[in-house]
């Protein structure tokens, strides 16, 4: 990729020469004769948070599953960490997924396991020592502010709490790439805000690359305009209506990408669908 940034940008921008963490190249997929994604191309670079906006059932979840190799595209190529996910054999996919954390739309916690065992799942599979597992579980549950729920079962938690446990489970090994599928879907506005708070915190404390899909514009704005303040341990607005420059947007509509750029560019877009969508 060539340097093509004509506009000087205030925040450190990701290295444009590095191999993108995620790259979709002309990806299409359909089910039962119905096209869901058509010729999708985009990239996510090291350190970027890419927010995918789109109306309900436009294929957002499908797109994330494609990125994680849980589905395969009908055509096109998908690269994650430079490896072609769309062509990797299963055994290599499991190895690649060690570097990827995924938060599912409805949390997808294992309902036969306690919160502790859900969060510890990855470490247990890797046969980590009990003491290490316990310490890491405590640490990550403290991060999502749910230390007191260790021995509860998912069915005993509220929707917002389940979502936090799902985030804890995904980030326990600090994966380099995080995939969030509608993390605020189905939650009330106040709970949604706490989840976004948590995602901003994860972005600004641990870093890494993420893909986040949502149909809620307010979440997307919040992610782009807020930063995590370690002193107050809270999220705050970036002063002078500043933006987080590593957070950029993709808008999907009717099987295609209709926008790819920053929040500023999105707000000034002329496309009638985008204007309608933003209003």
């Amino acid at each position: 990729m060539a340097h093509s940034n004509l506009l000087p940008e205030p925040a450190p921008i990701p290295d444009a020469n590095a191999v993108p963490v995620v790259e979709f190249s002309h990806v299409s997929i359909g089910f039962d004769g119905k096209q869901v994604l058509r010729d999708i191309s985009f990239t996510a670079r090291q350190g970027e948070t890419r927010i995918l906006l789109g109306p309900a059932s436009c294929g957002k979840s499908v797109l994330l599953k494609l990125a994680n190799g849980l589905m395969r595209p009908d055509s096109g190529k998908i690269y994650v960490f430079g490896e072609e996910v769309s062509a990797l054999p299963q055994s290599d996919l499991f190895r690649l997924r060690e570097k990827i954390g995924m938060v599912f739309q409805e949390s997808a916690l294992f309902d036969s396991l306690t919160v502790r065992e859900n969060v510890a799942y990855r470490l247990r599979e890797a046969h980590a020592e009990d003491a290490t597992v316990e310490a890491r579980v405590q640490e990550v549950l403290r991060f999502v502010e749910l230390e007191h729920t260790l021995d509860k079962f998912p069915s005993q938690l509220s929707g917002g709490m389940r979502r936090r446990v799902a985030i804890a489970r995904a980030i326990i090994t600090h994966p380099e790439l995080l995939l969030y599928d509608s993390p605020t879907g189905g939650l009330d506005p106040i709970t949604s805000a706490t989840i976004i708070d948590l995602i901003v915190k994860q972005r600004d404390v641990y870093g890494g690359t993420s893909l986040l899909v949502t149909h809620r514009l307010q979440d997307a704005y919040m992610l782009a305009t807020h930063t995590f303040n370690r002193e107050t341990n809270q999220m705050q607005r970036i002063p002078n209506s500043g933006l987080d420059f590593s957070t950029t947007f993709l808008v999907l509509n009717n099987t295609s990408v209709v926008f790819d750029g920053t929040l500023q560019e999105l707000q000034h877009a002329e496309d009638p669908f985008l204007k309608e969508f933003l209003s």
């Binding site: 995924m102 599979e125 489970r169």
Partner: protein, 256 residues
């Protein structure tokens, strides 16, 4: 949908089923084996099914003794009731009835459990967390079902023969020692072999069919209900069909 399309879809599903079964069996020779899950499933399937297997075994043996001794006495052959009960139990009814019972209880259980995991994306989550769900969910159920069904069938055979003896001696005036003597003497090696091979196949059918319908569930909670019913129906029919095939093969090998 036209006929060709329906047929194509059916063939695709059978192909998916065969691939899943082969993969699940191949995992027997691959690490890791999830011993914890194998034990949990063995407990659910083996210990959990014991009461119904004992009850059905007992009453089946009993009714066999009842029916056969009254028929046999017409020919003056009441003394071989024991032989008839034990042969029927061990060759056919023990394996088939135990298989059907466990199918009703556990093929449905597996389909509904894996089905709800599928529709709530827990199976995808498992993959995303780096675990192969076939290794973690299907293979342990397969091992547990085959092993447990083998022993449950032996229990059923034993309880059935005992039940036949009890009914025969208390209700049909059979001589107890004669009953048990003939029932033991009648058993030849091919009968026992046949009776012990069947549960291995039936266990394989129950676990793979239950897991297949569970893993391929679509369409939310309604889909789970559908998968559950389908799993029981399909595995029961397959058990009876495979029973016929094995019986026929054994006759071919050992002669009638």
């Amino acid at each position: 949908m036209e006929i060709g399309e329906i047929l194509r879809e059916k063939i695709l599903r059978v192909q998916e089923y065969v691939l899943l079964s082969v993969e699940a069996m191949a995992n027997l020779f691959r690490r890791p084996l999830y011993w914890g899950d194998i034990c949990t499933q063995a407990d659910i399937i083996g210990v959990g099914s014991l009461p119904i297997v004992i009850l059905t075994g007992f009453f089946t043996g009993g009714v066999l003794a009842l029916q056969s001794s009254s028929t046999l006495s017409e020919f003056g052959a009441k003394s071989i009731t024991g032989q008839l009960v034990s042969l029927s139990m061990i060759r056919e009814l023990g394996p088939v009835l135990t298989g059907l019972m466990v199918s009703g209880r556990n093929a449905s259980g597996m389909a509904s459990e894996l089905g709800s995991m599928q529709v709530t994306e827990q199976i995808d989550a498992m993959r995303a967390l780096g675990t192969d769900p076939i290794k973690k969910l299907v293979t342990p159920r397969l091992i547990a079902t085959v092993v447990m069904l083998f022993f449950l069938t032996i229990v059923s055979d034993t309880v059935g023969t005992l039940g036949g003896g009890m009914v025969g001696t208390t209700m049909m005036n059979l001589d107890a020692s004669q009953y048990f003597h003939t029932s033991y003497q009648a058993l030849a090696y091919p009968d026992v072999l046949q009776g012990l091979i069947k549960p291995l196949f039936f266990g394989l059918i129950i676990a793979t069919v239950g897991c297949y319908y569970g893993m391929s569930t679509k369409g939310g909670t309604r889909g789970v209900g559908h998968a559950t019913t389908q799993a029981v129906v399909t595995s029961s029919v397959l058990i009876i069909a495979v029973d016929f095939i094995i019986s026929r093969l054994m006759l071919g090998i050992f002669g009638g």
